[in-house]
Amino acid sequence: MEKLLEVNNLHVSFDTYGGEVQAVRGVTFDLKRGETLAIVGESGSGKSVTTKALMQLIPKPPGRIKEGEILFEGRDIAKMNEKQMQKIRGKEMSMIFQDPMTSLNPTMKVGNQIMEGLIKHQKMNKSQARKRVVELLELVGIPDPENRIKQYPHQFSGGMRQRVVVAIALACNPKLLIADEPTTALDVTIQAQILELMKDIQKKTDSATIFITHDLGVVANVADRVAVMYAGKIVEVGTVDDIFYNPKHPYTWGLLGSMPSLDSEDEELYAIPGSPPDLLDPPKGDAFAARNDYAMKIDLEEEPPMFKVSDTHYAATWLLHENAPDMDPPEMVKKRMKGMANMSSSSSEGDRV
């Protein structure tokens, strides 16, 4: 498959009164057409900033893309100006936001909010755009679209609003869809509905998708590949199977261990000790070393490079160095992995052929 997006050594910083916060510190990944990449990591790991940088939606100032390139179909987005970006945003790539309660304009009719992109990018007139909006609302499963387009966001429930947000993002058939924790603000039943909807839409439109989440259950459900981010870097990347059945980075172990599962008997969850490093002054060496039970001396001194595990699977931990001792993930994580295997095999049967 052809590459749609290539991000090389992306650095994003925010200039604050306290100094430069290095939110993203050298992120490299790529995305093929139609593929779904999940980016996981805890709050503050730089997932949202990375994806906002892809659309240049970072508030500037204080934010800036310090270094690196973002090749979208070969064009470097990091170097584009606002005018050029306006032609790409909403047309070739679009975004689904986290909180549907705040991401729609409260004083504008829902139909007009969806129409805006169509009129701007597809040069449709009002009545054409209107027809397309009705189709879109049908696509995202909003009943009675003819009447609904005349209503305001406050007349919609949270789940319905998120469907509207999805419709806005899909309006111009973007090649890349970025979903920034699209289910986090929703309750569990609605979450499942929105996830089903997104999977359904992926099948119909074959947009490539970047799915940001901290819910590993969601990852297993929607993604082809997973990138694990920590302190502004990707620490491990691989296919869903690589990450869930053969995780190599201790941080990934920690994430998997801290995920509750239905079929494990013990109720205790693993907690990663400590808190993420201060990105105003990132630590020397491996940023995760201070919280890592498996840290070695070198972790405190030198940053680990990406070690290749397989053609699809890379991880940045010194444990993969040939001189490092063989380490197995902790028992608890292994148990979870087994649980995961049951979970995803039952859920993926119908979806992935």
Binding site: P106, G117, H154
Partner: protein, 308 residues
């Protein structure tokens, strides 16, 4: 909607009645009589005058008579101004005050909003500092200082507009500018704060992610959401300006209502005091109704449920 407006008008009438009652009794507590040169009149003469104006009746009787006349639109006659009808006097005087007030409000709101918008769009840039400076100056320096400066430089030195008095439209220019500075400052400050908050909200990011350009983001998505707090403060301010500002009217020798109101209070000219108070009260209540209706126009979440 119609039902709501009718209901509000009903409340307005009750409010006006209460205000009239309170003002009437409070006024009766004022010391002194309406007789301007009481010491030169004999007791009998005073008694005759007081009798003529019904001021010897017990207060409840005076109140009753006043209210009966009021319902017929009769505000009585002035004690001080040649026994002319209060309605006529107020009508004569309200014109200049309203002209100045409305002009100042329109200019003030438009310029203030523009300044605030510029501030918000170029946040922390030179334009922002410049407009914030104007706003701070406008808010902290009293209008009579500006009035003096305008009179001296534009009126006397440059001779572009008349220094004072009333007559042609040119006469309104300097007092309007002097009055407009305060609303400019207020509107600029509110607009800036609100717009900055709105521009940081999620739906603005959504709009930008759709590819909407900066102009569209600010005017189509931002402005409307930033207006509510602005009209909330500007409404009452507008009444204050329209019903006459004593200082400015004095400095520019404008025959407005503010100047006359103070004169009436000093001389216990009860009918004028009552008349002016009721007028200001009415304008206030009316503008508040208009603002409440505007909330609904601006923000659909405040719109009243129709037919429910």
């Amino acid at each position: 909607m119609t039902r709501y407006i009718l209901q509000r008008i009903g409340y307005m009438i009750i409010t006006m009645f209460l205000i009239a009652t309170f003002t009437f009794f409070l006024m009766k507590l004022l010391p002194g009589t309406p007789l301007s040169a009481a010491d030169k009149l004999s007791e009998e003469q005073q008694a005759v005058v007081l009798e003529k104006y019904g001021l010897n009746d017990p207060v409840p009787v005076q109140y009753f008579n006043y209210m009966v006349n009021l319902t017929q639109g009769d505000l009585g006659i002035s004690f001080q101004f040649d026994n002319r009808e209060v309605t006529t006097i107020i009508m004569e005087r309200i014109g200049p005050s309203m002209t100045l007030g409305v002009q100042a409000m329109v200019i003030g709101t438009i310029l203030g909003m523009l300044l605030g918008l510029v501030s918000a769009i170029y946040h922390n840039g030179i334009l922002d500092y410049g407009s914030t400076f104007i706003a701070v100056v406008g808010k902290s320096i009293p209008s009579f200082v500006f009035a003096g400066i305008l009179q001296y430089f534009i009126g006397v030195k440059l001779g572009w507009f008349p220094v004072a008095l009333w007559g042609t439209w040119a006469h309104t220019v300097l007092p309007t500018i002097a009055l407009a500075i305060f609303p400019i400052a207020i509107a600029a400050r509110f607009m800036r704060t609100e717009m900055l908050e709105v521009m940081g909200s999620d739906y603005i990011t959504t709009a930008r992610a759709k590819g909407v350009n900066k102009f569209g983001v600010v005017f189509k998505h931002g402005l409307r959401n930033a207006l509510i707090p602005l009209i909330t403060v500007l409404g009452p301010l507008a009444i204050g300006l329209m019903t006459g500002t004593l200082v400015i009217e004095n400095i520019f020798a404008v025959p407005g209502i503010g100047e006359q109101f103070v004169k009436a209070i000093n001389t216990n000219d009860f009918p004028i005091i009552m008349g002016t108070t009721l007028l200001i009260a009415f304008l206030f209540i009316f503008i508040i109704l208009v603002i409440d209706l505007m909330y609904g126009v601006i923000d659909p979440r405040i719109r009243l449920a129709e037919g429910e």
